[in-house]
Structures are given as structure tokens and as C-alpha cells.
């Protein structure tokens, strides 16, 4: 086994973009699925317009994979998937908010 000694530098974050083709390859999905997700507003390409000019960022890939897992595991149709993802976003944001508020409350009450 090759020993990893060198240190890998990460290129500036947020710069990674994928073409539709690369996006499908990394998400292991067909382009049709991505197009449907875009049409339902589940995923937004960086530049709107023709599908062959679309590019996607890293958060979009994470969302695509999540959408794909939910659809595969729970057999959700597209409108249901779109709504589930929105609700899950809300839940994530609310959980973070609760965490922040609990953190503040603990400091205020010194618990």
C-alpha cells in the first residue's frame, strides 16, 4: 500500500462546477432525472437556460444524491420528492436554530 505522506491542497472552495454530463456521472443518475428535478425547482443550475449549458455546484450535487436516495429508498414521486426536500431543509434549519437558541439559553442561565 502506498503511504500517503504528501498534503493535498484544496483548491478554493465554491469554485467546483459540473456540466450536466459530469453531474449525472457523479450523481449516478440519468439526465432525464436531473432535468425533472430542475423543472420541479428541486435543484437549480448556476446558469438557467438551455440544458446543455447548465452547470451545477457542489451543494447541488449533495442535493441530487439526497433526492436520489429518497426516491430509491422510499419510492417518492417527483412532487412528493420536491416537497420532502423542502421540508427537510426547513427541519435542518430549525434544528440549527434550536441548537443556537439552546446554546444562548445555556449561557444566559449558566447551565
Amino acid at each position: 500500500m502506498k503511504k500517503a505522506r504528501s498534503i493535498l491542497e484544496v483548491d478554493t472552495t465554491g469554485q467546483t462546477t459540473f456540466t450536466l454530463r459530469e453531474f449525472c456521472e457523479h450523481g449516478e443518475v440519468h439526465a432525464e432525472f436531473v432535468i425533472k428535478l430542475v423543472n420541479y425547482g428541486v435543484i437549480n443550475p448556476i446558469d438557467a437556460g438551455d440544458a446543455h449549458r447548465w452547470s451545477f455546484d457542489l451543494p447541488a450535487l449533495a442535493r441530487l444524491r439526497k433526492a436520489q436516495r429518497l426516491q430509491r429508498d422510499l419510492r417518492i414521486n417527483l412532487p412528493g420528492l420536491a416537497m420532502s426536500l423542502e421540508l427537510l431543509d426547513d427541519v435542518t434549519e430549525l434544528r440549527r436554530e434550536v441548537e443556537r437558541l439552546n446554546h444562548m439559553l445555556a449561557q444566559l442561565t449558566r447551565e
Binding site: A4, L8, L58, R69, R72, L74, E99, R100, H103
Partner: protein, 321 residues
């Protein structure tokens, strides 16, 4: 190997009809789906539920499992399949579990594993050398302390990759990388390391490594995007007269000017003292006027004078209608 009680995993009994099993599976799959549940062992539970359903939904597999179940576990809960056991259903994956079939337990493998499947071979098949395939992407999570995220850091990341061995079979291997994490990463942000995932097969290009960053809770600061919030206790006199107070910030100490006439709950903003980035965040300081629990006689006298001096102040004016 441990015996797996598939009926218990789905919360059903041996006599439950298929509809009940399906219903229970659907409910538990939603409950424990790793994208939905925040329970620490959700992923393991989700896998157990999926594996249990894979067996119990299929009348043939269920009958075989019932047989095995009678044969039963040893007193210590461990299990060995009966000698000469051979499943009639040559498991090739199917339905929703297809992609995850390689992740089923050894118990499942010992009972339903088909002849062509060897242990530890995701996908089950050996790939011939002339097959050219891109390596799998690997997705990993990385927890950072807030201080590490603020200043950037070097981290060792360990993850599993899949590669072909000399016989062309797919095997897992633990890979270790030292990665320099740039300053200013925050929860939920992703990093891509091109070509650091599983190696390609037959000359195919390697997959990528994707890392999702998660910030560990900090004792002082709560993180909101790039902003950091902290509570700062001050005395009544500091609030009334104003003060310059040394406040901890990430990577330094800052002098905070508390204005004259400050109150509890007032927020003061230290511009640009949050997490760094294209749009650096701020450090938000919430003031909390704090009083000692015991006062000297002299202090009590002074408080009395103060009360008389400020008798027009009614902090409860909003409570009376």
C-alpha cells in the same frame, strides 16, 4: 456471526400477513432513513430494516428464514447456518436494495448468499481486465473544531475505497490522506478532491473524494452561517457608565466598547470577526447585566440611593395594561 431476528427488526410477528410486514417496513424506512432521521444509529437501523424486508417480503425467502429461525441461535446469540445449508433463492439483488446488496450482514450472506458471491465483494461479480470503468466517488464527513475551521488546518482523512485485485475482483481498502482544509469552512460545506476516490478499473479514471464539513459545538460561540454569537456578562456599573472590555474572539482578543446606558440583551457587532470568506461573518456579542448575589451594607445603601434617584424607571411598564 450474530443471529438476526428479522421479525423483531420490523416489529412484526411470525404470523403477520405480508400487508402488515410491508406497512411496517414502509413506516420504519421513513423513520430511520439517514436523510431524515437524526438518531445516531439511524443508518444501521435503516440497513437492518431493509435487510429484514428483503427476506420477509419474499415468500420463498421468508419460508427459508422461518426454517433457519427454528434451528435458531446459540445461547450466546451467535449463529452458524445448519451444515449443508443451501438456499433455493440464488440471491442476485432486486428491488430497492439492489445497490446496497453488498452491505447486507454476514448472517444474510450465510443464508441467502448465492454461489457466485464471495464475502466482501460489493456487486458480487469479478470484473475482467478489459472492462474499463471510472472509479467510484467517495463521500465522507469531517468534523472540525471552530478554531480549526477559522484558521484552516491540516487533517488526516480515512475512508474506504473499492479497487480491483489481481483477479479482477472488487475489494475494499482503507485509504488515508492528509488534506489541507482552507480557512473559513462552515457546516454543510463541501470540498472536492479530484481523483482521490476509488481507483478506476482497467485504465478508467479514478473517482473523486467529496468531504462534507461539520462543525463541532463550541463552548463560547454559536455559529449562524458565518456569524458567531456569544453572551457577555457585564456588571451593572459597566452597563450604566460604559466600559471597554476584553472579549475573546477566534484567534485573538478584541477590545469591545460597551456604550454608556447599555442593557441586558443588547447586541453589539464586531465586524468581520466571524468566519472568514468572500463575505466574512461578524461576531455578535449579546450583553447580559449580571449582579452579585451578596451586597455589602455600603452597597445596599448605595442601591437605596440609586432606587430613589431612578424611581421613575419602571421595567415592568409593558406588563400593566
Amino acid at each position: 456471526m450474530d443471529f438476526k431476528d428479522y421479525y423483531a427488526a420490523l416489529g412484526v410477528s411470525e404470523t403477520s400477513p405480508p400487508e402488515e410486514i410491508k406497512k411496517s417496513y414502509r413506516k420504519l424506512a421513513r423513520k430511520y432513513h439517514p436523510d431524515i432521521s437524526k438518531e445516531a444509529d439511524a443508518e444501521a437501523k435503516f440497513k437492518d430494516v431493509g435487510e429484514a424486508y428483503e427476506v420477509l417480503k419474499d415468500p420463498e425467502k421468508r419460508a427459508e428464514y422461518d426454517q433457519i429461525r427454528k434451528y435458531g441461535a446459540r445461547s450466546d446469540g451467535s449463529f452458524e447456518p445448519p451444515p449443508e445449508w443451501r438456499s433455493a433463492s440464488d440471491f442476485g439483488g432486486g428491488g430497492y436494495t439492489e445497490a446496497d446488496a453488498g452491505q447486507f450482514s454476514d448472517f444474510f450472506e450465510s443464508i441467502f448468499g448465492g454461489a457466485g458471491r464471495g464475502a466482501g465483494q460489493p456487486g458480487g461479480q469479478g470484473f475482467r481486465h478489459h472492462v474499463r470503468m471510472r472509479g467510484e466517488d467517495v463521500h465522507a464527513r469531517l468534523a472540525l473544531f471552530l478554531e480549526e475551521a477559522y484558521s484552516g488546518c491540516e487533517k488526516q482523512v480515512r475512508f474506504n475505497v473499492t479497487e480491483a485485485d489481481a483477479q479482477g475482483r472488487l475489494v475494499g481498502r482503507l485509504k488515508t490522506l492528509n488534506v489541507k482544509i482552507p480557512a473559513g469552512m462552515t457546516s454543510g460545506q463541501h470540498i472536492r478532491l479530484k481523483g482521490q476516490g476509488s481507483p478506476g478499473i482497467g485504465g478508467g479514471s479514478p473517482g473523486d473524494l467529496f468531504i462534507e464539513v461539520e462543525l463541532a459545538p463550541h463552548p463560547l460561540f454559536a455559529v449562524n452561517g458565518r456569524d458567531l454569537t456569544m453572551t457577555l456578562p457585564i456588571t451593572a456599573s459597566e452597563a450604566a457608565l460604559g466600559a471597554s472590555i476584553k472579549v475573546p474572539a477566534l484567534g485573538s482578543t478584541v477590545n469591545l466598547k460597551v456604550p454608556k446606558g447599555a442593557t441586558s440583551g443588547q447586541k453589539l457587532r464586531l465586524k468581520g470577526k466571524g468566519l472568514q470568506g468572500k463575505h466574512p461573518g461578524d461576531q455578535i456579542v449579546v450583553l447580559q447585566v449580571t449582579l452579585p448575589t451578596h451586597h455589602s451594607e455600603k452597597a445596599e445603601t448605595l442601591y437605596q440611593q440609586l432606587a430613589e434617584e431612578e424611581q421613575s424607571f419602571n421595567p415592568r411598564s409593558h406588563l400593566s395594561s
